[in-house]
């Protein structure tokens, strides 16, 4: 009969219409901003700098190597290296960033800065409610605004953060083994030196 296809389609639509009131999986509307959906763990929005411990300046992992600045595709990172050094998480003195600006109006959340950072210092945040009335200054994040603690990182990306912690602990253990073997070697050398002139006579 003419119109049969149309009626079948309309029946489909009617079924969905009625079902949207009774079926549980169809009631997907969330009254944002009063209600929120839990974000998916791997989601990425804009970068932030991780710091260990309580003091964001002393514990910041970033050593201002400027690799993220070079690799960033839209060139939204601006770093100024410091002139003095501070100890990092294994105790070695490293530079730190005197200025670290990210222009989030340019950043496209591609996450290449995170991928190339050798020090696990920059990671992706999940915050997206960043609208502001200040057009230029409000979207230019400086060092202090970007610094967030390691506990925060564990809260937003638990699996990733535990993997990063494991890698850092491994790195610290390797560095400690290196320093202890170097200390033993130099102690042995110090003990050997008086013996050498006797050997020279042979």
């Amino acid at each position: 009969m003419l119109g049969e296809g149309l009626l079948k389609g309309l029946a489909e639509t009617a079924r969905n219409f009625v079902g949207s009131f009774v079926s549980k999986e169809r009631l997907t509307t969330v009254q944002y901003p009063e209600q929120r959906i839990a974000p998916i763990e791997a989601t990425r929005d804009f970068p932030f700098l991780v710091y260990d411990g309580g003091d964001w300046q002393a514990g910041m992992r970033c050593v201002a190597c400027q690799i993220c600045e070079k690799e960033c595709p839209p060139k939204c990172i601006y770093i100024v290296k410091s002139t003095d050094k501070k100890p990092d998480y294994v105790g070695k003195p490293q530079f730190y960033p005197a200025r670290f600006d990210i222009d989030i109006s340019v950043c496209m959340s591609c996450q290449i800065c995170v991928e190339v950072c050798p020090f696990e210092a920059i990671k992706m945040d999940t915050e997206f409610e960043l609208s502001t009335t200040d057009r230029f200054g409000g979207l230019l994040f400086d060092r202090e605004r970007l610094a967030k603690s390691d506990e925060y990182y564990h809260r937003i990306h638990p699996t990733e953060a535990t993997a990063v912690d494991a890698r850092l602990a491994e790195g610290k253990a390797k560095a400690e083994i290196k320093t202890t073997t170097a200390a033993i070697a130099s102690a042995v050398k110090g003990a050997e030196i008086p013996a050498r002139p006797a050997g020279d006579g042979d």
Binding site: E4, G5, L6, K8, T13, A42, T43, S109, I112, V116
Partner: protein, 392 residues
Amino acid sequence: MTLGAFIQEKNKPEGWNRPLAMKPDGDGELLEVAMGPHHPSTHGVFRMDVSLDGERVIRLKPVFGYLHRNHEKLAEGMSYLGSMPFTDRLDYICSLTNNWAYALAVEELTGQAVPERAEYLRVILGELTRIVNHASSIGFLIQEMGASGTPLMYAFKARENVLDLFEALTGARMMCNYMRFGGCRVDASPAWLEDTRKVVAGLPQFVDEFERLLTGNEILMARCQGIGILKPELAVNAGVTGPMLRASGVNYDIRKVDGYGIYNRFPFRVPLGEHWDVYDRFMIRLLEIRESIKILEQALKEIPTGTVMDSKAKIRGFRPKPGEAYGRIEAPKGELGFYLISDGGPNPYRYRVRPPSLINLTILEDMSLGQNVADVVLIFGSVDIVLGEVDR
């Protein structure tokens, strides 16, 4: 007659692959209409300068370049890895297949091998992208017919589940930036594979519902059948690829012809059209969704364990030796190819994207001449373009 002979018919008259010169019947002036760039149905900022005799199209010249972002020149100043997020933004609905095409071209250039688990992940994500793209494309086509977005929202309902999968794996819903030269960026957890299996299990029901809603619909059939006919020899000569080419009856699917990646392990059929019109293109896309579901089910069953990134692959300091390569894949819209010339430095010397949407538009005029102007919108919708790819 075999297909080869059919396409290669000798003694073709001079100018056979040019559009017909239409003459208006009767007197009176031709009406020049600029359809676009502000137009709800032009899939982006796109303009068609149409000369009409009453309702009939006498001339149609497409004009684009409104979304030109000089992607090719930017890539000459950026490292190879730095261009990967920009490839996401070419065909912005199917970002993962764009990534795959670029990674494939660079792997051709350097001879890089890809581990097996990465290949399976690429196939899974590529086929999910294909399903999302075909469903959305059908939805947009029906919306242009006047269905006010209902089929589109059905397609988007299925798309939301897939986008959640993409976000859980790559971190972003649309601009995924996931494939790398030598594999994929991060591994998929067993929990993610379980979620994917659940989503794929719900897809056949979605396609059935979509078909019940649309395929027998008399309005759809009356508007789409017999419109926008594209002959196979003109399609091949004009460089048309993808579902458009197969709807014109030409059996050419790059997944079967080139066999890139591990597609040789997946038996799937290639649907072909018999009437070469808009309705065939719509049906081909529906049938291809079903074939993709088959591939997905098999890939999810067979995915092996292992790494997803070749251990010898470099992320920084990547300098391929001088040479050039052209790598192409069957993207949902057609043949997406990347042509790279390397001069040994960290940046490519020449970086070219072969956009399927742009080349599929070559015969837009041929298909529309003589039709009513209302059908031009449908014909254009059946070409399935995305302006990000046309203009780069």
